[in-house]
C-alpha cells in the first residue's frame, strides 16, 4: 500500500494489478458504473428524436451520437471490469435501482431544440466534469475518459450548431431554442452535484486523485464558459440574477434549487420510472437473444473439442 500512496503522491497512475485500498476500489467501481449507466440511460432522451429528426443530416448526426454513447458505455463498463466486477452484475444493480445514473436524464425531451440543448448544455457540463478525470489516478478510467471527452466535445459543438441554426431560423424555431434553454438550464447546473458545503465523499476522492475540483468550482467554470455562448446564440439564460463581475472575472449566478435535485435523485423526477422501465424492458426482451448466443458459443466449443 505504500507504493499506492507513493504513486498517488507522485501523480502517477494506478493500474489494475496494483495494490489499492478497498475504499479506493469501491469508490471507483461506484463512480465508473454510475458513469457507464448514465451513458446508456442517456441514449433514451436523445434516441427519442431519431425517428423525428427534421433533416436527414441531423438524423445521421444524432444516430451517430447516440451510438457513441453506447460505445462510451462499453469502454466504461470495461474500465469497471478491470476492478474485478462484471458488467452483467453492474447492469443488475442499475435495473434494481441500487445504482444511480445522472439525474439529468430524468427530464423529458419535448421538442427538437432539446436535442440541441442537451448537446450544448448537458454534454458541455459533462465535459467540464470529465476533463479533469482524464488525469484521474486510475489508469483505465483516465484512458477511457480521454476517448470519451474527445467525442463529447464533438457532440457539444453539434448541439450548439443545432441551436445556432434554430436561432437564425424562423420565429417558431427561435422560440423553440429559448424554451429549451429555459428548461435545461437549471438541471444542467445541478449536474455538478450539490454545493460544496453539502457534498459528501468529496474530500476522500480528492485525496485519492479521483476528483480534482470541487462541485462549485466546476459549476462556475461551466457558467463562465456557457453564458457567452448563449449571447452568441441570442437567447437568454433564465436567471434574473445573472451578471458579470468584472473584478472577479466571473459570472455571478443564482444557485439552482437543489431540493429538486434531491427529489429527482430519490426517484421523483418526470422520467425516472420511464427511463428505468425502458432499460429493463430492453434487457428482459433481449434475454433470450443473449441466452441463445451463449448456448451457440458453447456448442461451437464442444464441436471444436470433439473434432480435436
Amino acid at each position: 500500500m505504500d507504493s499506492f500512496q507513493a504513486t498517488i503522491d507522485a501523480d502517477g497512475r494506478i493500474e489494475p494489478r496494483d495494490a489499492m485500498p478497498e475504499g479506493y476500489r469501491k469508490t471507483l467501481i461506484r463512480q465508473i458504473a454510475q458513469h457507464a449507466h448514465s451513458e446508456i440511460i442517456g441514449m433514451q432522451p436523445e434516441g427519442n428524436w431519431i425517428s423525428r429528426a427534421p433533416s436527414l443530416r441531423r438524423k445521421a448526426i444524432l444516430m451517430a451520437k447516440v451510438q457513441d454513447e453506447a460505445g462510451h458505455g462499453l469502454y466504461l463498463y470495461a474500465a469497471a471490469e478491470t476492478l474485478g466486477v462484471d458488467r452483467a452484475d453492474l447492469l443488475d444493480l442499475l435495473h434494481s435501482g441500487k445504482q444511480k445514473y445522472s439525474s439529468i436524464f430524468n427530464y423529458p425531451t419535448l421538442t427538437w431544440a432539446d436535442i440541441g440543448a442537451i448537446g450544448w448544455l448537458v454534454d458541455g457540463a459533462a465535459i467540464v466534469n470529465q476533463v479533469p478525470l482524464c488525469r484521474c489516478s486510475y489508469g483505465p478510467y483516465a484512458r477511457a475518459m480521454v476517448r470519451v471527452c474527445k467525442e463529447e466535445s464533438f457532440h457539444q459543438r453539434q448541439g450548439f450548431e443545432i441551436l445556432h441554426t434554430l436561432c437564425n431560423g424562423t420565429q417558431a424555431q427561435k422560440a423553440m431554442a429559448q424554451d429549451a434553454l429555459n428548461r435545461w438550464w437549471w438541471p444542467s447546473l445541478m449536474m455538478f452535484g450539490p454545493p460544496d458545503a453539502n457534498s459528501t465523499h468529496s474530500e476522500q476522492s480528492m485525496a485519492w486523485g479521483i476528483k480534482r475540483h470541487s462541485n462549485d468550482e466546476l459549476r462556475q467554470r461551466f457558467v463562465d464558459m456557457t453564458v457567452p455562448q448563449a449571447d452568441v446564440l441570442g437567447i437568454k439564460v433564465p436567471d434574473e440574477g445573472l451578471r458579470y463581475d468584472d473584478e472577479a472575472g466571473h459570472y455571478v449566478f443564482t444557485d439552482p434549487d437543489f431540493t429538486e435535485l434531491y427529489e429527482v435523485v430519490k426517484g421523483n423526477g418526470p422520467c425516472n420510472e420511464q427511463r428505468l422501465a425502458q432499460r429493463v424492458k430492453a434487457h428482459e426482451d433481449g434475454a433470450w437473444v443473449r441466452e441463445a448466443a451463449a448456448a451457440y458459443a458453447d456448442k461451437q466449443i464442444l464441436k471444436k473439442e470433439s473434432a480435436a
Binding site: S51, P54, A64, A70, D285, A295
Partner: protein, 246 residues
C-alpha cells in the same frame, strides 16, 4: 418522370425506410454491442439514402433536395420495397429481414458497380463494402439464434417465415429496369440470392420458408398500412415548419 430518377428513388427509398426501422433498435437492443452494431448498420443505410436521394433530386432537375424528397412526399410516392417498411418485430424478425435485404443489396450493388452511370457506380462501390458487413452480421445472428436454444430456434424460424412473403418483390423485373441501361434488372439476382440465403438458413438448422403468396406493390407506391405511420413520425417536425432550415 425520367427513368433514372425513378430508379434512383427506388434504391434511395429502400435505404431510407430501412434506416428508419433499424434505428428503432437504438437504446432497445438485447445488448450494448448490438446497439452499436445496429447503429452502424442504420447509419450506413441512412448514408446510402442521402446520397441516392440527393442524386435523384439532381436528376429530376426540379430543385428538390434529399430532405424535400424524404420529408415532403406522400406515402403513395414512396417506391421502397414493402419488406423495408414492415414493423421491426422482435430481434429475430429484424435479423431475418436484414439477412434477406442485405444479401439482396449486396448482389445489387456488386452489379451496379459496373453501371455506366458513374454516380450510381460510385455509390454502389462504397455501399457494397458496408452491406457486406450487414450480411455478415445478419448471418452470425441467424446461426446463433437458429442453432442456439430451443426458444431462439423457434423465434428465428418465425422471423424467417414472417418476412419471407415480402422477398419476391426484391427481384420483380419491370419495363423500367429493362429499358434503362444503367440499371440492374433484379430478376437476375434471384438465383444467387436464393443460394446464399438458403445456405445460411440450412446451417442455422432452420427451414427455408416456402409460402407461395408473395406481396407486391412497393415499386408502384402501393404499400402496407405500416408505412403511413412510419412517415407520420419521420415527417412530422419537418412538415410542421415548412420552409425552415435545420
Amino acid at each position: 418522370m425520367n427513368d433514372l430518377f425513378t430508379y434512383t428513388l427506388r434504391l434511395g427509398d429502400d435505404a431510407l425506410i430501412a434506416a428508419q426501422r433499424t434505428a428503432e433498435w437504438i437504446a432497445a437492443a438485447p445488448q450494448l454491442e448490438e446497439d452499436v452494431a445496429l447503429g452502424n448498420i442504420g447509419l450506413d443505410q441512412l448514408g446510402q439514402a442521402r446520397t441516392l436521394l440527393q442524386y435523384a433530386g439532381q436528376l429530376e432537375g426540379a430543385g428538390r433536395s434529399e430532405d424535400d424528397l424524404a420529408y415532403f412526399r406522400d406515402e403513395r410516392d414512396f417506391l421502397n420495397l414493402q419488406l423495408c417498411e414492415l414493423p421491426s418485430g422482435d430481434f429475430a424478425h429484424t435479423i431475418a429481414r436484414l439477412l434477406y435485404f442485405a444479401t439482396y443489396q449486396h448482389l445489387l450493388y456488386e452489379e451496379l458497380r459496373g453501371s455506366a452511370d458513374e454516380t450510381l457506380a460510385g455509390v454502389a462501390g462504397k455501399a457494397v463494402k458496408e452491406v457486406a458487413y450487414h450480411v455478415d452480421h445478419a448471418t452470425q445472428w441467424v446461426l446463433r439464434l437458429g442453432d442456439g436454444t430451443e426458444v431462439s430456434h423457434l423465434r428465428m424460424q418465425a422471423g424467417l417465415d414472417a418476412m419471407w412473403p415480402y422477398t419476391a418483390e426484391m427481384f420483380a423485373s419491370d419495363e423500367l429496369v429493362r429499358r434503362l441501361p444503367v440499371a440492374v434488372d433484379p430478376s437476375k439476382l434471384q438465383d444467387e440470392w436464393s443460394r446464399r440465403v438458403t445456405e445460411v438458413i440450412d446451417e442455422s438448422t432452420c427451414t427455408r420458408p416456402t409460402s407461395s403468396y408473395q406481396h407486391s406493390g412497393g415499386r408502384e407506391g402501393r404499400h402496407t398500412e405500416h408505412l403511413g405511420y412510419l412517415l407520420a413520425e419521420l415527417q412530422h417536425v419537418a412538415r410542421s415548419h415548412p420552409g425552415a432550415s435545420w
